[in-house]
């Protein structure tokens, strides 16, 4: 990668700076280009949903933001600061582990398969990182964890291991665990895809509550079009590693402009 880095600002200034900015971001595995020069801004407090056919690169967007994947070109900024790069002698160079660790504190993520730690109870899952990463005392972390487990409606399952919880309950613990780190940006990667239909509602209700009561910036990948339409401030339709079309839910669902958007929406509504 011999990209000219001087075209990227060292940091984003101003009161209108976005919470997240993807600038010209490219990601490929060998010859396969997953994301192609992606530009995407997410404002503070905004809920943006990414939809699109499988293989369109939508999950990769979240995984790059969580630093689970490295990028091949471009820069990602979080809260004005570069995430994937850092400043050295006035130019941007790829971020080292220390910089990434510092920046990661801004971001939380919920996974399709929950990824709860199976050998820890619900509350231990929520306390682990606050105690050992943020340096909270066990008492503080426990209070915070209990509060969040209550928020997701699991005050009665605090001491259960994940194996004893239903999928919906596990995913709610995972949301509480991510919130316990007080991230500025929260990512939801197909959080309802692995759930039985009858428990999807308990998870979407928690997300609804977060949107209405908290000023979190959220990015969500989902296949649930109804939920996306109801809850999002903006929807981006991905196609082959690029944003094919974006707009408010009503614009995108009510009056799609592009042929591919219409095709995709027709296909998913027929499936329902």
């Amino acid at each position: 990668m011999n990209e000219d880095m001087s075209k990227y600002p060292l940091r984003l200034e101003g009161s209108d700076k976005p919470m997240v900015r993807f600038m010209n971001v490219t990601k490929s595995y060998g010859d396969l280009v997953v994301l192609d020069s992606l530009d995407l801004d997410v404002a503070e407090g905004e809920m943006v949903t990414v939809i699109g056919p499988s293989g369109s690169g939508k999950t990769t967007v979240l995984r790059m933001l969580m630093t689970l994947e490295t990028i091949n070109g471009g820069v990602i900024y979080v809260d004005g600061e570069p995430l994937t790069h850092m400043e050295k002698n006035g130019v941007l160079v790829p971020a080292d582990a220390k910089h990434m660790r510092r920046m990661r504190a801004n971001i939380g993520m919920c996974f399709q398969h929950f990824n709860l730690f199976p050998h820890m109870t619900a509350i231990e899952n929520c306390m682990e990182a606050p105690v050992h990463v943020l340096g909270l005392t066990r008492k503080e972390a426990r209070e915070r964890g209990l509060e969040l487990l209550a928020l997701v409606g699991l005050e009665e399952k605090v001491d259960e291991h994940p194996a004893r919880l239903s999928g919906g309950q596990q995913q709610r613990v995972a949301i509480a665990r991510a919130l316990a780190m007080r991230p500025k940006v929260l990512l939801f990667d197909e959080v309802t895809s692995a759930l039985d239909p009858e428990v999807i509602g308990e998870v979407t209700n928690v997300i609804r509550k977060l949107v209405s009561e908290h000023n979190l910036t959220m990015l969500m990948v989902t296949h649930q079009m109804g939920f996306a339409r109801e809850i999002s401030d903006r929807i981006c339709l991905f196609y082959r590693g690029q944003i094919e079309e974006q707009g408010t839910p009503d614009e995108l669902f009510g009056n799609p402009q592009r042929e591919r958007t219409q095709q995709f929406l027709r296909a998913v509504t027929e499936a329902m």
Binding site: M66, F111, L116, H119, T121, E128, H132, A178
Partner: protein, 222 residues
């Protein structure tokens, strides 16, 4: 049965039981070395350095696919050639420890690799440090998978200690051999050695299985 003499059995049993103590000490000492060195081999193969990974990988393969008895001879005899004299115990422990370290490193590796990728990702998403991720998230989950293999090799190292007799470590087999050449009776000493091995390895294998189930349960993984 064919000329089986009980009085001879009672006569030699104390010596054999004393030697069993040496056998157990050798097995436990060797296992202790193997557990630590095995972890070093396993973690060395997870560093970003490709060369280190390759060298350690090849070393582990080499140790695993050559006979322990030959390794024991090698370590015992090569030292003096270069002016270093190692006692039978020291070279025996080094050889058996190294041999089983290679096996245990594979067990650890298997355990670590069996932990789903999502667990690493969740640890990253929560910003846990590498050390914390290993000790609090990955190793506790790798342990139940690894325990079965670790237990098998504990019994395995015990059963391989007779090879130490070839360089004169006074363990069970060595003592039985000595008794045989003194009295010209091999039936009783060799049979007793077999019985002692069975009497220790079968219950141990059973205890290990019980312990394994306990650990699984205590970690909440049924």
């Amino acid at each position: 049965m064919f000329d089986w003499r009980w009085d001879f059995v009672w006569e030699i049993l104390p010596r054999l039981i004393w030697a069993t103590g040496n056998t157990l000490i050798a097995a436990l000492l060797g296992y202790g070395i193997a557990m630590v060195l095995g972890l070093v081999f396993a973690l060395a193969q997870r560093t970003p350095s490709r060369i280190l990974t390759m060298v350690v990988r090849e070393l582990v393969e080499f140790i695993r696919s050559t006979p322990l008895v030959l390794q024991i001879f090698f370590i015992f005899y090569v030292g003096p050639q270069f002016g270093i004299r190692l006692s039978p115990w020291v070279s025996g422990m080094a050889a058996i420890g190294l041999h089983y370290a290679a096996y245990l490193s594979e067990v650890y590796r298997g355990g670590i690799e069996a932990v789903p990728r999502g667990q690493w990702e969740a640890a990253t998403a929560l910003n846990l440090s590498t050390a914390r991720t290993y000790f609090r998230v990955i190793i506790p989950q790798a342990l139940p998978t690894a325990l079965a293999g670790m237990g098998n090799y504990l019994v395995g190292i015990f059963k391989d200690t007779p090879m130490l007799s070839v360089i004169g470590v006074a363990e069970l087999m060595h003592t039985a051999n000595a008794i045989g050449s003194e009295s010209y009776r091999f039936l009783e000493p060799f049979t007793l050695v077999g019985v002692i091995f069975l009497a220790i390895s079968l219950p141990t294998a059973w205890l290990i299985r019980v312990f394994e189930r306990r650990v699984r349960r205590s970690l909440g993984m049924n």
